[in-house]
């Protein structure tokens, strides 16, 4: 692969990789931050008809600048609806939402995620915000995409707390628990690579490493046994055009700069 001057940061790379995963003419529920950035990039590049939904009621926004909060006025700016959580959560549960874009503090081999607590629940080392809409998206969207930082304390064997369901304990576990059919984590995107889930074992599987990241590095930053297929691609770098769009969407670098 021809080397290119690295003129982007990890957030920009992750946003660009995530945006490319979104198919046009699908719907996506997005959370604050990187998910919004990625969805807006998709809307302005490969998926102009992506339907962006926010849990507070904004649908189909055409805002040109990233909303600071998933409830703020940009979430319905020139949108097709400014309704309510009742409306959007019903659409999720009813099967109208293809993708759910989430962040996470910890993830395990089956794509279960933790955003509630680090350490013991009753005497927490770090109390995190909790589910928010994550459990809802992870339970009800058809395909969940998780965007998160990777290291051995984040890609863990056992979560400190299972906030949002991935494939739970493996094949068939979601359905057995009563979760809607044909749902679950679809991709995980970290600063190191892109992961999917083996269709038989439902275990996390490396799909591509980001430019200049070795498989060794991926393994070193993962506490559980990762499925590594023979063919591992290299993730595409963001194009200049994508970077330009990202910096227009987030001119104050409130997401990119973090």
């Amino acid at each position: 692969m021809p080397k290119k001057t690295v003129n982007y940061n990890q957030v920009e790379l992750m946003a660009s990789v995530a945006a490319k995963l979104l198919e046009d003419n699908k719907s996506v529920l997005v959370g604050t931050g990187l998910p919004v950035l990625a969805a807006m990039l998709a809307q302005q590049s490969n998926a102009p008809n992506i339907l962006i939904m926010y849990e507070a009621g904004g649908v189909g926004s055409q805002a040109s600048v990233v909303p600071v909060s998933v409830g703020e006025s940009r979430t319905f700016y020139h949108g097709i609806a400014a309704s309510s959580m009742h409306d959007v959560m019903s659409a999720l549960q009813g099967g109208f939402v293809d993708y759910g874009f989430l962040g996470a503090a910890q993830i395990d081999m089956y794509g279960n995620i933790n955003t509630t607590v680090i350490g013991d629940y009753d005497t927490p080392k770090v109390r995190l915000p909790g589910s928010g809409g994550a459990n809802d998206a992870g339970s009800l969207c058809f395909k969940t995409i998780i965007l998160m930082k990777q290291d051995i304390k984040r890609f863990v064997k056992k979560l400190d707390f299972l906030t949002t369901p991935g494939y739970l304990t493996g094949p068939g576990a979601r359905e057995k628990a009563g979760l809607p059919k044909n749902t679950g984590p679809y991709r995980v995107i970290s600063q190191l690579g892109v992961y999917g889930f083996d269709s038989d074992t439902k275990k996390m599987m490396l799909l591509s490493t980001h430019p200049n990241v070795s498989i060794e590095e991926i393994k070193e930053n993962c506490s559980f046994e990762l499925t590594i297929p023979v063919n591992v691609e290299t993730s595409e770098e963001p194009t200049d055009q994508e970077l330009k769009i990202l910096r227009q969407i987030d001119p104050m670098k409130i997401v990119i700069g973090k």
Binding site: T32, G33, E55, A63, V70, T116, R127, S131, S139, G178
Partner: protein
Amino acid sequence: MSKVEIIEEGKGQLVGFRDPDENRRWVLDNKSRTPEDKRMSAQEAVSKFIKPGDYIASGGFGHVRVSMAIIYEIIRQKKQSLIMAGKTAVHDIDLLVAAGCVDKVEVAYSFGHELRGLSNASRRAVQTGKCKVVSEISNAGYQWRFLAGMMGIPFIPSRILLGTDTFKKSSTKIINCPFTNKPLTLIPSCNPDVGIIHVHRCDKYGNAQIDGALIEDFELSHASRRLIVTTEKVTPHRKTRLKPWRTSIPFYYVDAVVEVPYGSHPCQMPMEYFFDEDHISEWLRLSKTDAGVKEYLEKYIYSVNSFDQYLRLIGGQRKLNRLKKMEMTTGWKAEAK
């Protein structure tokens, strides 16, 4: 006939739940259908309607359309032992926990400031045991708790929380559905003791209009036992009657109408004014230490008599005009409706 049984019960504390018959009785005895002038000051509303031990829920979402005027007043009056709905509560709950007003929370999303990072003060209070998380739930879970509360039914069935620790720490139950025989989560209803909502406009009786997304305030306002509405503007009752389809909250759900222009500051009021990032940053910086919390509360709340005085402290009309202008760059105005 399929058998139905309880498969599992969450171990979280069931807060804000009322037997629907008991709540109907309360409504009959306490909620007036009389169109009365309910205008009062924030001071009066808080002292009249918020008692120690109450379960309170604040409208809006995150830093959007939050009745900060009432939050500050609760702190000023040093209310204690409140339980709060952490229904994507950020700045409001952070201040209330920091000030020692709230010591129990049912959490969907709390102790964070969304993009701005974790909340320092309230997180510290949880980690040191000063504030207790009594149960976990999700955003949709809250939405449905309020929906059930509004509808006068004990629960709403749903397909969330299944298989997770969030369920185990929740107050929900899993049964197998008598129609599908599949597991189903029953989300118990919630009728908060006090709901606190900031709106764009409202008449003196309490008929309130909200612009933009309703978020979950339709359900929350209808489910709350006492409802304090703060409003950017009190509008003539006659205007309510000219566009009855614009009423999001009819007067019989409302107990207090408090006129507070900029009442959501430093949070956003959609299509009116933007977030005051300077002020939020100041809080996030100061709240890193207990001394800083004290300094902030002293400066902006305890030593201040009214919301107007607070607005002068944060930069006065000049600052507010700037926030208005920033919000207007989205290109529309609330009056567009």
